[in-house]
Amino acid sequence: MFIFLIAQQRTHWILSQIQFFLYFLKKKSFSDVSLFRNTFLFIINPEEETVLSKGWMSFILLTYVECLWTVFSLELVVAEYHRKIKEAFEVFDHEANNTVDVREIGTIIRSLGCCPSEGELHDLIAEVEEEEPTGYIRYEKFLPVMTEVLLERRYRPIPEDTLLRAFEVLDSSKRGFLTREELIKYMTEEGEPFSQEEMEEMLSAAVDPESNSIHYKDYIAMMVVDES
């Protein structure tokens, strides 16, 4: 669908095009993209007999070509995301009927590289659940929501140095380690508390059996290596 835009005033119109392009870049979400997908804006300035100066013309045309290119490559990116999400979903879809247990949604989302907090996770689950929660999440509802999350790069993982600083905050006397009791107290009483199972799991890997304490710098280094 081609919309022929007839501009009365050259500069006013050029500014509006730049505005549009910037808005488009900022938003970069799939739903908006599809709206503009087949829109091609041609410019004709009827006031002057000659067409807009070549310089401006090329600038604008290039802008539109870039827009279109972004749109198409975005579509490719989205298609890849879809496949990635599908793969992760299918692994947990035990009955091969495009549903997963709601208790595994957190694992799926995190396995795709996102790190939502428990509260954020609850909100996400609310978005993908049925009106009458069945305990199962359907793929059809999960896919668009997860695609948005990936496109918007929400819930980025915590960088290593932030994590280190967090431990250092808890280690107020700057000893370089936390005792078992201290870690338990913080993890089970502050923030979004751990369950007993989570606490035990963390301790089994983090505690140095000889000193019965957590040398967090080593611990972080070990975990990071394991993930790569």
């Binding site: 990635k84 692994v91 035990h94 790190c115 979004e192 089994s204 993930e227």
Partner: protein
Amino acid sequence: MGCGTSSSTKDRKSEKALKAALVIQNWYRGYSARLKARQRYALTIFQSIEYADEQGQLQLSNFFSFMLENYTQIHEKDPELVARLFGRTLQDSKDRQEYVSFVDVPDSYNGPRLQFPLTFTDIDLLVEAFKQQQILHAHYVLEVLFETKRVLKQMPNFTQVKTSPTKEITICGDLHGKLDDLFLIFYKNGLPSGSNSYIFNGDFVDRGKHSMEILMILFVSFLVYPNDLHLNRGNHEDFMMNLRYGFTKEILHKYKLHGKKILQILEDVYTWLPIGTIIDNEILVIHGGISESTDLNLLHRIERHKMKSVLMPPISIDEDQDTDLKKTKTGANVVPREGKTNESPSEQLPKHEWEQVIDILWSDPRGKRGCYPNTSRGGGCYFGPDITSKILNKFQLKMLIRSHECKPEGYEICHDGKVVTVFSASNYYEEGSNRGAYIKLCCDMTPRFFQYQVTRATCLRPLYQRVNTMESSAIRILKERMLSRKTDLIRAFQLQDRSKSGKLSMGQWAFSMENTLGLNLPWRSLSPHLVTTDKNGNINYMSTFQDIHIQKPVKEAQSTLIETLYRYRSDLQIIFNVIDSDHSGLISMEEFRAMWKLFNSHYSIHIEDFQVDELAERMDLNKDGSIDFNEFLKAFYVVHKLEKLNKSDANLL
């Protein structure tokens, strides 16, 4: 919250601590979830490869049909081979004395000695002996097998069991040769006895290293308490499956002198195992599952001992001139043969009965409604909740308990509570892969589930270590599989790589892998373990093969030949074993050549005959005209460059 000076620094401090705790918790949960996802991926890999193998196994039956069609010399020269493949029973009259009496127990033997008739002391004796890693002498093995066959013959196809408020029954699933799991069950739940009933739901053997010990304990317990220990046949209680999945090897290794005899009797014993158990006329316990055509009334009547093996579908002798290949529900081609043999049809089950048994032993429940051929395994079908309801209602049953599939928690309930899967081999694929479970049932009460996991150490290793072990194991077998299809994979990659750059996009690589290997795996998530990616996100596809190669048994042998032989090594082993009817471990060069020619043409492999001849001649180390095929096939193993591999670890046949 409350007492003390509420100075702003204190507030700020606790706020900082709160934020820090949140960061750590957030990070940890993300990490833990990714670990669990990796564990799942590893499980998926193990499972897909296992099922793909089973499928390959079942397709062998095509080859056998083909072989018999074309290998005309066999009929004259080797009637025994024909008999094996057509499922004719060994002369049943092979006297028990003839076998057992020739096997003497030397005085120097300090293993367990059983006293016939067996009593509960013999069960204890065996359990204690096996805990000490002792091996039961072949004499006793044979006696037990003969006695078991005699007693089993008197049992109906479906054992009827009643529970009472004072008498519960315990149901265990697949054990697959994992003796530690059986010991753990007995430790937690007590040995079988008159007041402690058990049902073992098939697949006692194969894969694990102690299939023989498990079988002996189960059979002896059965002989002592025939009304309280019930055995169901599983798809691995099948001599053909044992050939591929390790039990035959275990027997021949542990019983070098008398292994062959044991194998021959075992074939028969399997066929007399009951098909299933029915509890209180309400609960059906079978190994695999059902299909839409399952007819319990029919199954009650069939002659179950005629069901030899899943690889031996009945041939329709009296089929007419129609030579169209008919695809059965299993996908196996049943070629009607025109009476090429003097095989009497009464030695086999009619086709529809055979299919019914296959469905019972091989089917899997799925969420999708309806009944579909089980394409992953190649046998039986996938049955949906509607099928379950229909069949259960038709025969006035309330629940189906089955095994056959490994579940991470050891058990799984599906189809609205009507189908329960119980699996009793923990750490089935790898240490840490899954729990085992058993069920205790009583009258009208809801079933209770008990889970466990065998560990070598006294305490559980941290999760990340367990996941790492599982993951590396899974990736290894996946890589070996990829290697066995190297030529096909490279061709697929090159087809997509128009510009010959050596690179493909993630989507193209994943597509080629899935199509060529036929495994439905999360390729994108697995790619970091399998290939290298450049900074643009494109994959160097040749890096798929960088860390591993097949050890060439003979230096001059060509790669494609090696690859093909490696790929078909399991099939070849079975074929050789079948040809080698006297279990000598050797076949003649002539047999090898003829068999290879057939294999070549049936599987459309493009290997020149002379190449294989050359290879075989080199394998015939003592130049006596016969090939030790186990040695031949052992020579092909995969070397993983990044790991220290000792030969005993090599995941081969």
